[in-house]
Amino acid sequence: MSDFLQLIISGLSTGSIYALAAIGFTLLWQASQTINFAQGEFVMVPAFFILIGSRVLGLPFPIAIGFGLAVAVFTLGFVFKRLVIQPMLPHGHLPIVMATIALAILMRELVKEFYSAEAQTFPALFSEQTFDVFGAVISHQDIGNLAVSAVAIIALQLFLGRTRTGRSMQATAQNPGVAEILGVNVQRMVLYTFMINAALATLASVLISPIYLAKFSNGEPIGLVAFLAAIVGGFNQVRGALVGGLLIGVIDNLSAAYLSSEYRIAGPMILLIVIILLRPQGLLGTSEGRTV
């Protein structure tokens, strides 16, 4: 029983990191119908921006995180939107899918070529000390990751719901034609969404890299999990991506512990198949009815 509790908590902890990536994924979809197949690489790369800041430029680690965040928001937010998505968008979904797949490959190879093909250790924000709760061994890192993700997601929800800019972003996502005729700067709102996605990916990167190390090939599994989480939760819902991320974190952990770590990815895949069969719009999703 205490093992079970322990697995649930550490599952929620990794799940909350997956949720950050999945939420960014759904935000991009809502704002610009972009399915970002490079989302995993968006989580992999900021760790290297931070490592460059701290090891190459010699910045203290907290400043290096700020540096990595700024570089990520600029390149994965602004440049990505302007140079990749905006020119492709008029041509439909498929060119964007191809472009983001190509971008993912490019990002992996750039890291391998110009930084290292080896896994890099990455300093953790929280200690790996543990404490006992009802016999379960819980690490500070698990609780810390969960708390940081929770704060980020709550802050995002408050921003989207409680500020005029956030509501203009919602209007842009839900009905871009109407947003335009009301005088909302639609392109700017879409850009904000891309920048927020880059920031969420950076946060996920900071939290997950101490666990899985920073490695060029880490994007693939993370991207897959974010994609699964978004589909399981409901593609058009921030809350859905959150639930999907947490659920997959837990199932991932339980199947690794009770079945075999070889079947680790099988659990989430089975969940995906069940969800698609029983509730294709996702757990919290609503079927999409875009009005003309």
């Binding site: 203009s168 209007a171 009905n175 034609g177 947003a179 335009e180 005729i181 009301l182 005088g183 700067n185």
Partner: protein, 239 residues
């Protein structure tokens, strides 16, 4: 108040407007009627800066506003209520209204204005915290009209307000528009429901094939047999 001079325009290379010309006076309701494909909605989009004007001029109170963006047109005191459903579905009624004033610098004035508009439309006050998608079709249309009033516009372009509404709701929307006209707002409306629309308007314009065919007092158009013929499906030349 609003004057179109020999306006040509359309979508990309396709020309829909072939020299539309008319002028509407301040504080009046003018209804644009015409068969499908005549370019009625296209005229509105051209005025509001949503599509390219190839040639010709749009004058607002004598100033050339051709080629402005929607945001600039809002700044000029023009608002646009397109056809169909135009609410932001997951935002509350209140926040939909607030979006109507999103371009304003002074947001406290917008809040005061929202209160005033909710006085005009008590239903909106009652449902202010509901999501817009939860309102009925007629209520959503009222929300759209109310939202278009948020910046105290001089000119409202309203495209087919009666679509999907029951006859008594149509009458209600029309009464709202007449009350606005009486407050000095100029209204330019497109309507399929030509008879009812002309009956509540001051002036009428008949568009066909992207050109102005007739422009007269609404009661004169109503009495004109050629207009009746047009809406029985024939072309005006045959009348």
């Amino acid at each position: 108040m609003l004057q179109l001079k020999n306006l040509y325009g359309g979508y990309g290379k396709i020309t829909i407007l072939n020299g539309v010309e008319f002028e509407i006076p301040k504080g009046t309701i003018t209804t644009v009627i015409g068969p499908n494909g005549a370019g009625k909605s296209t005229v509105f989009k051209a005025i509001f800066g949503l599509l390219n004007v190839h040639s010709g001029q749009i004058l607002l109170e004598g100033r050339d506003v051709t080629g402005r963006t929607p945001k600039q047109m809002i700044g000029e005191g023009v608002t646009y209520v397109p056809q169909g459903r135009n609410v932001v579905p997951q935002l509350s009624v209140y926040h939909n209204l607030e979006l109507g004033g999103i371009t304003a610098r002074d947001q406290s004035a917008v809040r005061a204005r929202i209160e005033k508009v909710m006085d005009q439309f008590p239903m909106l006050r009652e449902f202010r915290d509901r999501k817009a998608i939860e309102l009925s079709g007629g209520q959503q249309k009222q929300l759209e009209v109310a939202r278009a009033l948020l910046l105290d516009p001089k000119l409202i372009l309203i495209d087919e307000p009666s679509i999907g509404l029951s006859p008594n709701l149509v009458a209600e929307v029309f009464r709202t528009l007449q009350a606005l006209r009486d407050d000095g707002v100029t209204i330019l409306m497109v309507e399929q429901n030509a008879k009812a629309a002309l009956a509540m308007s001051d002036f009428g314009i008949v568009l066909e094939l992207g050109q102005t065919r007739m422009h007269d007092r609404a009661d004169a158009l109503l009495a004109d047999p050629r207009v009746g013929q047009l809406f029985l499906g024939g072309h005006m030349e045959e009348a």
